[in-house]
Amino acid sequence: MRNRISSVIYPLCTFVVLVAVWQLSIELLGVPDYILPRPLAVLACLKAGYIDGEFWPHFAFTLSSTLIGYVLGCSVAIVIGAVLAESRTFEKSFYPFIVALQSMPKVALAPLIIVWFGYGIWSKIAMVALMCFFPLFVNTVAGIRQTDPALLNMMKAFSAPGWMTFQRVKLFAAAGHIFAGLQIAVVLSLIGAVVGEFVASSEGLGWLIQSSLSNFDTAQMFAALFSLVMIGLIGTTAIQVLHRRLIFWDGNKRIAAPAE
């Protein structure tokens, strides 16, 4: 309990001190607003945005494109990863291409995706899905591959059919890796959404940041940025909680995930 409280209090103190230093240094050094806004100005902008309501459509746009793209990209990646890990033929025919694609900077595809999916939400969803795909794909394949051979041998000794071994052994064995992928994908999905909005959009938090550029409204940039951080934070926490709830068997063993 004590631990719980201190883990909330300490970062809160740090936050308050940082904000105070921020506000004070602007007052003392006379940094102009268009370079660095005052924290109070950001707060006022957030209040105006979310209480008067003009931020909400943008927030909803980014949140929904991120969520839909995330679920889509992750599930497709898990399915394809599982099929590839299970089938030698599929693996031989496709794995080299997927690995080659992985080394490509995905954000460079943003303009093409706009061409293919239009200016609306679908291009953002596609962008998010594309960003989420690779970490999930790679981790699913790796997770299934590292299944304890002793367990597979045991299933074989009891004549378990392949689908049963997959469903009751390999999927569970890969679950830790899959969650590590889901964790990275949260951050990547936000990058995808923002890049999509930067390239071509008329709404969303990323678009809000870009449109603030025309009048150097840095307070609004910070307010939008803060909103993105909140989405990322909530997403990451949700995945962490799910991970701990669902993958109860590998305790505190942390699985290293390949970084993008």
């Binding site: 299933m155 009891f158 059919p161 068997w249």
Partner: protein, 280 residues
């Protein structure tokens, strides 16, 4: 030559063996001129060489041999997990080509699914054959009681000690009521005390269920304590070196391990090993 000696040594099965079941006098398991050659990067490697043996219904037979002599290889062939290079193994008169429903395997490590409860783990072989799981549940509970784990049915494997996990593995191997139980050094990972306790429990289970057991071990006293017959293998490639019939009275207790007769048999086997090492 040892073949002949082995045959000479063979005696009529004792009472315990004959009352065991349908296959009276018949061999439940037969290996005939079995050879296994592994293709490794350093060329072919013969792991088992011309091994012939037979096991009668209800018999408890141990295989003793130095590390790397092909014991696990032999067991994997019997389990249907490995194809022999020549010769073959027959279980109940049928040549083994793939894992059989009437053979249960206990592995050296417990190899339980960490995400499944003890009860679910015991039911895996039932699910594997797509049999009625609900109907098998009471039987699984019964087997867990037999191995002293009835209170742990809904625990997860990592909440159990190594010995308890191994007992789950034994219950799992028994769930389909197999005619033959194959055990590959099932107690090797346990400490000496637990190991002795497990030997007694295994003897109890064997007495209660009258399975035909093929038991692999490194421990001479363990083999002598548990077995009707001990087969000694030569170092790699594995061949049958000798057969020792253990005619100590059943049920054996830990005290019987300190009896002169027990010591004499262990000594005889130990000398056999030493001779092997000395032989060119």
């Amino acid at each position: 030559m040892f073949q002949r000696r082995a045959r000479e040594l063979r005696i009529e099965p004792d009472v315990a063996n004959t009352e065991a079941g349908l296959h009276h006098k018949d061999n439940v398991l037969e290996a005939e001129h079995l050879s296994v050659v592994y293709q490794s990067s350093r060329g072919p490697q013969r792991a088992v060489d011309d091994l012939s043996l037979s096991i009668r219904a209800g018999e408890f037979v141990s295989i003793l041999g130095p590390s790397g002599c092909g014991k696990s290889t032999f067991l994997n062939v019997v389990a249907g997990l490995l194809q022999p290079s020549s010769g073959g193994v027959k279980v109940l008169g049928e040549t083994v080509a793939s894992p059989r429903a009437d053979v249960g395997v206990v592995f050296q490590k417990p190899t339980l699914l960490p995400w499944a409860t003890v009860l679910e783990n015991v039911l895996i072989p039932v699910r594997a054959l797509r049999q009625d799981v609900a109907a098998a549940r009471p039987r699984a509970q019964e087997l867990l009681a037999l191995v002293g784990l009835q209170a742990f049915a809904h625990h997860y494997p990592d909440e159990l000690s190594g010995g308890m996990q191994q007992r789950v593995g034994i219950a799992r191997a028994l769930i389909r009521d197999p005619a033959i139980l194959l055990m590959d050094e099932p107690f090797a990972a346990l400490d000496a005390m637990t190991r002795e306790r497990m030997s007694i429990e295994l003897q109890d289970i064997w007495t209660a269920r009258r399975k035909t057991v093929l038991f692999i071990t490194h421990s001479i006293p363990e083999a002598v304590f548990l077995s009707d017959r001990v087969l000694v293998m030569t170092p790699s490639p594995g061949r049958l070196h000798a057969e020792i019939i253990i005619d100590l009275p059943r049920l054996r207790s830990l005290d019987s391990m300190s009896s002169p007769a027990f010591g004499a048999i262990c000594g005889k086997i130990r000398r056999m090993f030493n001779d092997q090492v000395k032989a060119p």
